[in-house]
Amino acid sequence: MTEPVGGPWRVWECILCGWIYDEAEGDPDGGVAPGTRWEEIPADWLCPECGAKKADFDMRLVA
């Protein structure tokens, strides 16, 4: 697989519950397609595990 446009996929971790968001995998069940950059996730998206809002908590860049 070639490197995605805009640099390697990044991995984010919900600082509240520890859920991992991998840009390569997205959150298909939550309406976020694989390959969606963190910045492109809609503002009304919720952490699928703990329900934290995107704006209310920090995702920590882990890779």
Partner: protein, 387 residues
């Protein structure tokens, strides 16, 4: 059409097991039955921002998820299970056949002792309907008294205080959140609540609830125009017990979620799962435990290996305070508490290894530490010596 899979209960456990089954390639029909009319929502929001800001709880999945995944939602109350005939009966008299049944019936608030005078005057919070009642009462009340100083009681207390209400908390133990966090951290949390203006009555027992407030056994009277009881939960096992499933403060299940009756599984707050360190098993009322169990049941029903276990974690949002916990607190023989990120983190050790982590307002340090559960205490000593 052949009978498919029926899930009773559409909160975190029921919805997640449905999603995990589809993710694992499970093909048969899935029906998610719930007596709540609302689309499945994040229940933990109810005692936090929903009370503090009048926000509605977030939805567990987008509306389109259920149709896309071939998961049918049925709004009905299940009254009976016929395990021999493999069917459920709903309150409107209809019956539905299943090949596999998953019970995710959750828990209900533990009531105050039946003999306590005025017990019926205290409200409880568990679902969206309760939230509606509570909000209406909060809007017309000025003095709130909460019975129970656990996580939920303190979340409600902080939310009400942030809206300018006077808040008293009555706790029978000499410390707060005794099931969840260590005394040292619990004391720090209490100090913050006291600074915010919440009054605590520790080591206190309720003699009676009246329309004017709470009378304690030591003679103290706490004036209140609204009383909330938050004294723990009870698993909803009536349906399972009537159908002959073995229950003991929860539906007893094996490591794959299978109950004592063939073809019936259980997970979430209604179930008691085996725990390697315990003889009785554990009913860990947490999202983390539920998510792991959902993966385990999905694995069992699709012939896959069980998922690797991860440390169970809990969190609580009490006003501006974030409290997080992972690992069993009772196992730790000693610990140390340290300042981190403007808050505090507590490391608990047993048999020379990190066994639990708790944090107040130190979410990044917490996540880093959770990943190190099981590592040697000596390493932490060496780091402390060099830092």
């Amino acid at each position: 059409m052949s009978a498919g899979l029926i899930i009773v209960g559409a909160s975190h456990a029921g919805v997640t097991v449905a999603a995990e089954l589809r993710a694992a390639g499970f093909q048969p029909a899935i029906t998610l039955v719930s007596d709540e009319t609302s689309e499945p929502y994040h229940r933990p929001h109810l005692s936090k921002e929903c009370l503090a800001t009048d926000a509605e709880p977030g939805m567990l999945k987008p509306t389109t998820f259920y149709e896309e995944k071939g998961i049918e939602r049925l709004n009905a109350r299940v009254d009976a299970i016929d395990p021999d005939g493999r069917r459920i009966v709903t309150s409107d008299g209809k019956s539905f056949e299943y090949a596999t049944l998953i019970l995710a019936t959750g828990a209900k608030p533990r009531g105050l002792p039946a003999g306590l005078p005025g017990a019926e005057l205290a409200l409880t919070l568990r679902d969206r309907a309760d939230l509606g009642v509570l909000r209406a009462r909060l809007a017309t009340s000025r003095q709130l008294a909460i019975i129970g100083g656990g996580l939920i009681g303190l979340e409600i207390a902080a939310a009400a205080r942030s809206k300018g209400m006077s808040v008293d908390v009555v706790e029978c133990a000499d410390r707060l959140m005794s099931r969840c966090i260590s005394p040292e951290l619990a004391n720090l949390v209490r100090e913050r609540h006291v600074a915010a203006g919440i009054t605590f009555h520790m080591s206190s027992n309720v003699k009676a609830v009246t329309s004017q407030g709470i009378e304690l056994t030591d003679g103290v009277f706490i004036p209140a125009d609204l009383v909330i009881a938050s004294v723990g939960s009870q698993p909803r096992t009536e349906l399972a017990a009537r159908a002959g499933l073995t229950c003991d403060d929860g539906i007893l299940v094996g490591v794959d979620g299978s109950s004592s009756v063939t073809g019936i599984f259980a997970l979430g707050d209604c179930a008691r799962w085996p725990d390697p360190g315990l003889t009785r098993g554990i009913r860990h009322e947490s999202i983390a435990a539920t998510l792991w169990q959902a993966k385990a049941v999905a694995a069992a029903l699709t012939g896959r290996p069980l998922p690797a276990s991860t440390p169970l974690r809990l969190w609580s949002q009490q006003g501006a305070m974030r409290i997080q916990m992972a690992g069993p607190i009772e196992a730790a023989t000693h610990g140390h508490i340290t300042a981190a990120e403007g808050g505090h983190i507590l490391y608990g050790f047993s048999t020379g290894r990190l066994s639990s982590v708790q944090a107040m307002d130190a979410p990044r340090a917490f996540n880093t530490a959770v990943a190190r559960i099981g590592s040697c205490e000596a390493d932490f000593r060496a780091e402390a010596a060099t830092s």
